[in-house]
């Protein structure tokens, strides 16, 4: 096996990892702020992928352009879901919250099954098969774009949380809910914003995945399980952890596919996952739990 193949595989793994990181970021944001595990995250991503898919297929709109529509819709959907179904269970026991998000996932999946049938579909855009060579490394163009897009979204999110009043309010509500309420932060609205942003993250990830990934009603499960691994690997609620975990998982999957058989690539991820949990249960960048 030549070095350039390995390097290319490594680089493509990093690219894919950027996308995983973005999915994981949305998940970890929602968890970090509300301590709710959003099982519907993958189903929401699947719907975002269908939205971009059909906009491209029927309207001829490039997935990246369709973000102008799907991002605000994704945010609004997340915001509305929070207000309608998550807020009522915020004070409920944890298992009720799990059942709520799981139920939502099942509902969204079956709705997609009804609407689009079970067949996987793929979207061919002009650059689906294109690649860019960087010295000896051959990069898939759609993956490169997704990587750049994921990094851009991550950076924007970071700046938002660090510098805007709303972003600071979000971090405050995540750390100290009563304290936040007592300085006049409308905590429930801020929670809805967090869910909206989390959903916008998967919406972006969905659109950017569509040029090189299939779409089916179950596609969200595949992706979100990987995202769960990333979140736990990086440390629940940690942003840097989601980013590092995403890249690591992307690389392991890509190299695993190269050295072992493609369909066995995921074994590497889960082996890594189990090892990290054994030796650092709080995740790579997570704070040790009390």
């Amino acid at each position: 096996m030549s070095a350039s193949v390995v390097l290319s595989s490594l680089a493509n793994g990093v690219m894919l990892g950027g996308l995983y990181a973005l999915v994981a970021l949305g998940l970890t944001l929602i968890f970090g702020v509300m301590k709710i595990i959003n099982f519907a995250h993958g189903a929401l991503m699947m719907w975002a992928m269908y939205a971009s898919f059909w906009l491209a297929k029927l309207g001829g709109v490039d997935p990246y352009l369709s973000l102008a529509v799907t991002l605000p819709v994704g945010f609004a959907a997340g915001y509305a879901i929070q207000r309608a179904v998550i807020t009522p269970v915020l004070e409920a026991p944890e298992h009720n919250q799990l059942l709520m998000t799981l139920g939502l996932a099942l509902f969204l999946e079956n709705l997609a099954l009804l609407a689009f049938k079970a067949d996987p579909r793929t979207l061919l855009v002009s650059y689906s098969q294109a690649s860019v060579s960087l010295g000896p490394i051959l990069l898939s163009l759609p993956r490169l774009l997704a990587f750049a897009g994921a990094l851009a979204v991550t950076l924007l999110l970071f700046l938002f949380l660090k510098f805007t009043d709303l972003g600071k309010a979000l971090r405050a509500a995540a750390e100290e809910r009563d304290g936040a309420a007592l300085v006049g932060i409308p905590v429930r609205r801020v929670y809805a914003v967090a869910f909206g942003i989390g959903t916008a993250c998967v919406t972006a990830a969905g659109a950017m995945a569509v040029p090189f990934f299939y779409v089916s009603p179950e596609v969200g499960n595949t992706l979100v399980i990987t995202a769960f691994v990333v979140v736990v690997l990086g440390g629940m609620g940690s942003f840097a952890g989601a980013l590092a975990g995403g890249l690591l998982v992307g690389v392991v999957e890509s190299l695993g596919g190269l050295f072992v058989h493609g369909s066995l690539a995921q074994i590497g991820i889960f082996a890594l996952f189990i090892l990290v949990l054994l030796f650092k249960p709080s995740g790579l960048l997570g704070a040790p739990s009390a």
Binding site: D165, K168, A169, R171, A172, E175, E176, D178, G179, A180, A181, L182, V183, G184, I185, P186, V187, R188
Partner: protein, 234 residues
């Protein structure tokens, strides 16, 4: 200014407050004393909207508070310094203070209030870039009081501000409370440090197992047999 009338609060089936009525007049310092579990914190949390009374009314400047959300209550000018400080530990001191002025009432004047507050608590200016969680106990208490002041309160409620602090720091905190009051902010103080609190206050109430059992001027309560027995341990 603040009136509670027959307020009942429950945790599930457990009644924590029984028909609590009290008033705080503009620009006075009123103290609420009582032992552990008497319902002092419950009362403040209810006024702040974190808990809802099952019966009774809470009015502030004639306006009903008991149906408002906590952020609206802060907006109305009723601001609490919570027990246990409740700072945002991983945010910097400066970010904590900025968030104190989150409401529409306080936001336009944020820079000016910040300057005021920093002048009153010079230590916070020194620590501005530090994570709030890294401050000492006394500094954290000052930071949380400063954060509450950022909201430009007309009524400031403090829940056990002297808890767990060294005597010197306690003196300093009480001095600051008097000074804040001197600038026209009404103060409702909840304390276990009965002697100091009552000496600082014009009037006080004694809360026992969720009921107001005694009220009077600070001096009267200090001299009352019942207060002494129940809370000063003699």
């Amino acid at each position: 200014m603040l009136e509670l009338e027959g307020v009942d609060v429950f945790y599930g089936d457990l009644q924590a407050l029984h028909g609590v009525s009290l008033t705080v007049e503009a620009s006075e310092i009123v103290t609420l004393v009582g032992g552990n579990g008497a319902g002092k914190t419950t009362m403040l949390r209810t006024v702040s909207g974190l808990l809802r009374p099952r019966r009774g009314e809470i009015r502030f400047e004639g306006r009903r508070l008991d149906r408002l959300t906590p952020d609206r209550i802060v907006e109305a000018g009723v601001v609490q310094v919570p027990e246990g400080r409740r700072l945002f530990p991983s945010l910097t001191v400066r970010e904590n203070l900025d968030l104190g002025a989150y409401t529409r009432r306080a936001r336009p004047a944020r820079a000016r209030t910040l300057e005021d507050v920093m002048a009153r608590f010079p230590i916070l200016r020194e620590r501005a870039g530090q994570r709030a969680g890294s401050l000492s106990g006394g500094e954290q208490q000052m930071c949380v009081i400063a954060r509450a002041l950022m909201a430009r309160p007309s009524l400031l409620m403090l829940d056990e501000p002297s808890l767990g602090l060294a005597p010197m720091v306690v003196q300093e905190i009480f001095r600051i409370i008097r000074e804040i009051n001197g600038r026209g902010v009404t103060v409702l103080l909840v304390e276990q440090n009965v002697r100091q609190a009552l000496a600082t206050s014009r009037r006080g109430y004694v809360l026992e197992t969720g009921r107001i059992v005694l009220s009077g001027t600070g001096q009267e309560l200090l001299e009352s047999e019942q207060t002494l027995k129940a809370y000063l341990g003699r």
